[in-house]
Amino acid sequence: MNPLELVRARAGTPFTVRFDGREIEALPGRTVAAVLWSAGVTAWRTTRDGGRPRGVFCGIGVCFDCLVTVDGRPNQRACLVPAEPGADIRTQEGTGHDE
C-alpha cells in the first residue's frame, strides 16, 4: 500500500525537476517538499550558525524550517511552493543570500 493507491489516484503526467543538479521525478500538484520526500530527500537546507541539515517540520508554512532556493530565489517554503516542470531546486545554505 502507498498513499496514491489508498486514494486510487490517477495522477497527471510526471515531469522532472532538478535537485542540486540531479533529476528527480515529480507528480503534478505536489509541493517541492512532497516531491523531495517522495524521492527520499529529507534535508535541503543548512542552518546559519551550526550548518545543520533541515527539511520539513510543520508542513503548513508556519515554521520556515523547509526554506529552499528555487530557480535562484532563496527562502522559499518548500511545503507551500508547487514544483514546476524543470524547476531548479537547490539546497539553501545559511541566509540563502550571497555573502
Binding site: 546559519r48 527562502n75 545559511g94 541566509t95 543570500h97 550571497d98 555573502e99
Partner: protein, 376 residues
C-alpha cells in the same frame, strides 16, 4: 541608594555608583530592560547631536562605552561600526557639512565623504546621493544585553517585578527610601531612572517632571549577510530628532546587526502610550529605507515593534540632584538616545552622589528647569 528603573540608564547608574563604593538596590516593576531599552536599536551616537550640552554628554558617554567594551564588549555585542550620514541634495549636503563643522569644533571626529566615495563605504547604497559625513565614533550595542550585563557587573541587588508606590521622605523633606508593593527599601538617596515613566516616579516624590512618550516603530528584516556596514541615515534625521512637533515624522535610519537582520527606523510621533500598530508609519519607514538601499525591495520584514522614547520639551535629559527634594536624583528623559547617553549619565550621577564635582556642568540638565512652565 535605590535606583528606580532597570533599563539601560538605571543599570549604568547602578554600575558607576557601585564602582564609586555605594551599596545599590536596582528596583523595577517589570523585568530588566522591559521598557524603552528593550524596544531600542542600541545606538551609541555622537553624529545626531547638535553642538551643545547633549553633545558633551554623548562624547563623555562614547569614551566610557569604549572603556566598558574592554571588559564587556562581546557580551553586549559592542560594535564600533561608525555612522554614515548621507545627503540626497547639494543643499542638504551643505547643511550637513555646516553641522559637522560645529560638531568637529566640539571634539567630534568627522570625515567628509564625497559622492564618489559613498559606495566604497556602503556598496549597496543608492546611486545619485550628493555626499555624506562619516562619524567613526558612532557605535552600537544590543541594548537588552547591555542593560542586563551592566546590572550584573554592578553587583547591585536586583529587585525586578517590584513596584515603587511612594518615595519616602523624612520630616526634613529629605528622601529616606521608597515604598514598594512588597515592603520598604530604605536609603538616603533615590535615583529616578524610570525613563518614559520618569514623570510618574517624580510625582511619587511630589515634584513635577514633564516626561512624555514619543512613539517610534522599528522594522526587522530577515537575516542577511552583512550588506549594511555602518549605521546609515539621511541628514533630515537630525532635524526630526530636534523637532518639537507632535505629528508623525519619519526619516530613514538603516543598519545591519551582528545577528543578521537589518533594523529600519525611525519614526517619531506623540500619541501617548498608544500601542496599536500603524500601517502608514510602517509604509513610510519601508519607503525611506528602500530609497537609501534599493536591494531592500526584495528583502522581507519579519517583525515590527514599537517603543516610547522619554521626551522632555527641550530634548535634554533630566540629570542630577533635584533641588526640590534633598536626596532625589534624576537620570531620565533621554528621548531616543538613552542607550548611548547611559554611561555618561551613570558616571555623572555617581559623581554627584559621592559629593564630587561632576566632570560636566549639570546646569543644562537641571530637573527643576521646567518648574516655571509647569506652574505657568
Amino acid at each position: 541608594m535605590v535606583v528606580v528603573g532597570a533599563g539601560m540608564v538605571g543599570a549604568a547608574c547602578a554600575l558607576y555608583a557601585a564602582r564609586a563604593g555605594l551599596d545599590v538596590i536596582l528596583v523595577d516593576r517589570g523585568p530588566v530592560a522591559g521598557g524603552t531599552t528593550g524596544a531600542g536599536e542600541g545606538n551609541l551616537l555622537v553624529s545626531d547631536k547638535e553642538p551643545g550640552p547633549e553633545l558633551h554628554l554623548a562624547l563623555l558617554s562614547a569614551r566610557l562605552w569604549g572603556e566598558l567594551a574592554q571588559e564587556l564588549g562581546t557580551a553586549v555585542e559592542y560594535e564600533p561600526k561608525g555612522g554614515l550620514v548621507v545627503a540626497s541634495t547639494p543643499d542638504g549636503l551643505t547643511a550637513l557639512a555646516r553641522l559637522a563643522a560645529g560638531q568637529r569644533a566640539a571634539g567630534v571626529r568627522t570625515v567628509p565623504v564625497d559622492a564618489s566615495e559613498l559606495r566604497s563605504l556602503e556598496p549597496h547604497l543608492a546611486p545619485g546621493l550628493a555626499g555624506g559625513v562619516l562619524y567613526p565614533q558612532d557605535a552600537q550595542v544590543m541594548p537588552t544585553l547591555a542593560a542586563a550585563h551592566l546590572a550584573r557587573a554592578s553587583g547591585a541587588r536586583l529587585e525586578t517585578g517590584r513596584t515603587v508606590t511612594r518615595v519616602l521622605r523624612g520630616a526634613d523633606g529629605a528622601v529616606r527610601g521608597v515604598r514598594t508593593d512588597r515592603g520598604d527599601l530604605l536609603a538616603p538617596a533615590v535615583v529616578n531612572a524610570a525613563g518614559t515613566w520618569g514623570g510618574e516616579v517624580a510625582a511619587l516624590a511630589g515634584v513635577p517632571l514633564p516626561v512624555l512618550p514619543r512613539r517610534g516603530f522599528v522594522l526587522v528584516t530577515e537575516p542577511l549577510p552583512r550588506r549594511v556596514r555602518h549605521k546609515v541615515y539621511a541628514a533630515d534625521y537630525v532635524a526630526d530628532v530636534a523637532s518639537d512637533s507632535a505629528a508623525l515624522q519619519t526619516s530613514p535610519v538603516v543598519e545591519g546587526t551582528a545577528a543578521g537582520p537589518v533594523l529600519i527606523g525611525a519614526s517619531r510621533e506623540r500619541v501617548g502610550f498608544d500601542r496599536s500598530f500603524s500601517l502608514p508609519v510602517v509604509r513610510a519607514l519601508a519607503a525611506g529605507a528602500t530609497r537609501l538601499f534599493p536591494f531592500l525591495d526584495d528583502v522581507r520584514v519579519m517583525r515590527t515593534y514599537l517603543g516610547f522614547r522619554p521626551y522632555l520639551p527641550d530634548h535634554l535629559p533630566a540629570l542630577g540632584p533635584d533641588p526640590r527634594v534633598p536626596g532625589l536624583f534624576h537620570a531620565c528623559g533621554h528621548e531616543g538616545a538613552g542607550i548611548g547617553l547611559a554611561t555618561g549619565s551613570g558616571q555623572l550621577i555617581a559623581q554627584a552622589l559621592t559629593g564630587g564635582t561632576p566632570e560636566l556642568d549639570l546646569t543644562p540638565f537641571r530637573p527643576d528647569r521646567f518648574a516655571e512652565e509647569a506652574t505657568a
